[in-house]
Symmetry: C2
Subunit: 292 residues, 2 copies
């Protein structure tokens, strides 16, 4: 499982289950977890696209100082995500070796999978949420008091219906579609998933023909949080039922998003009344090996 | 093994062994196998790049009538190449179910692998040669009496040193290089093979920058003998240690060689004093499913 909820592989088709821990961290603390600077730690893997979304939101909103970050090793073992990139194989601040320990402190013998992104309450060491879809929305709408000056509105009220509709299609056919194709165990299943994925990509390309972003003037923020080394090592070394040699392919030399795209010529105000974020804090920069 | 000599896969790096049966079919019959119309059968798999070279030469030289063709199933079983595409799973003319039977008639208990391309003597049913490099050269130089009118000279005397030198590099770094990369069992081995392959491709691209072909005005002949269905099914379904799901990827929609390349603008006389071949005989046309 790469994150984003528990995923079941095997002889049946790919299924992504809903996140089990769905408490919300909110301004009013309705679930017992009020927004508070320095209290929580966001645990991610840079290999995980679902976690990357949370990392990007945190960065655009300038929440680095308020919500600290733990980065798991892209290679899991049978106890799932682990902190083997850190000194003594132990996450700083949280002091745990496996993300699963925070799950255990929250619910003993929880039988589900351990996934990222996850937010852990630092004082108690307990998992608060692994609800990958909700985390990003709440960073945008509930953590506003801690946003940087000039932070863009990532989920503007007037656009929510449109955003939700577009994202439902993207989620089903693209985000999950690539897993359905990649983890297919039969030819028909694979071809069906590919057909659906590429049909959706064509529809999205049509949508993007005349506008810079999928919805409105929404905000760019992709690139400097991406760690290709982690992404590739995770997918090619962990899933040995698909890639038994564990060999990681070389490339790409230069991802497409670094080449001039001229899409700014389509106009729009990508940060609305806000401003772009500053550079990534040094401690969180992607090492040269994984940088595109 | 896809053909072109016995190949050893496993926990050590990829090795291609020399063909074991190296008798030559020549104009003077020096090895007991004189060139003779209708006597021999060329056994190939359209999945095998080494066999494809023999098929292309045969076609350019107009040897279809003189040297008949047997096409093996792209999916081997543990007895190797078989004729399961044919009625009763038996090769017409040769009457055998496995290419290995022709090997057995030649040498009892031959311990090596069964490879294509192979030429079988129809009257005796015995294998003559599986020397994939020699077969093509001899079609060009020894079978001249049976060439079609206007057949190009595929191995002109004045160019042989240059052809041999270029082909030695292509053979080592490209033809075998893709196998070394694809069948690598370790990361370093894979990366080394890739580096060597792409370094060679760059050198070849430099060579091709100012001239249409790798050597002289040499002859085009690529495309209508290529069966993508066979190629893909072979490599993705046979090599289960690399691709355990056996899923065959979709695509490509349109191979690059069908898009206009404008390379004819570099000039040259691709067929020399000869002419292009006619259309592929109907019985040997690549079925629509495998056609690019």
């Amino acid at each position: 499982m790469s994150g984003g909820g528990t995923t079941a592989y095997g002889r049946k088709s790919f299924q992504r289950s809903k996140a089990h821990f769905t408490d919300r961290i909110t301004a009013d603390g309705q679930d017992g977890w009020p927004v508070e600077a320095g209290r929580y730690r966001l645990v991610v893997s840079r290999a995980c696209p679902w976690a990357s979304r949370a990392v990007i939101s945190r960065r655009l909103l300038g929440l680095e100082g308020a919500l600290s970050l733990a980065i798991a090793d892209p290679i899991q073992d049978d106890r799932s995500w682990r902190f083997t990139l850190d000194p003594d194989d132990r996450a700083p601040v949280l002091g745990i070796r496996f993300l699963g320990e925070a799950y255990d402190r929250r619910e003993t013998d929880y039988p589900g999978g351990v996934s990222v992104p996850a937010i852990v309450d630092v004082p108690s060491g307990r998992l608060v949420t692994n609800d990958y879809q909700r985390i990003t929305l709440d960073l945008a709408t509930e953590w506003t008091a801690l946003h940087r000056e000039g932070a863009p509105d990532l989920y503007p009220e007037a656009r929510r219906d449109e955003i939700d509709a577009v994202m439902a299609d993207v989620y089903e056919d693209v985000n999950n579609g690539v897993y359905r194709a990649g983890f297919a165990t039969g030819q028909d299943e694979y071809e069906g998933a590919c057909a659906r994925l590429f049909r959706r990509l064509e529809l999205l390309a049509q949508r993007l023909a005349g506008q810079r972003y999928l919805v409105g003037d929404q905000t760019p923020g992709f690139g400097d949080t991406v760690d290709f080394d982690h992404i590739k090592r995770h997918y090619y070394q962990v899933h040995s039922s698909i890639n038994p040699t564990g060999i990681v392919p070389l490339g790409p030399d230069l991802p497409g998003w670094l080449t001039p795209h001229h899409r700014q010529e389509l106009g729009g105000r990508p940060f609305g009344d806000g401003t772009p974020p500053g550079p990534v804090p040094e401690a969180e920069q992607v090492p040269a090996r994984g940088r595109p």
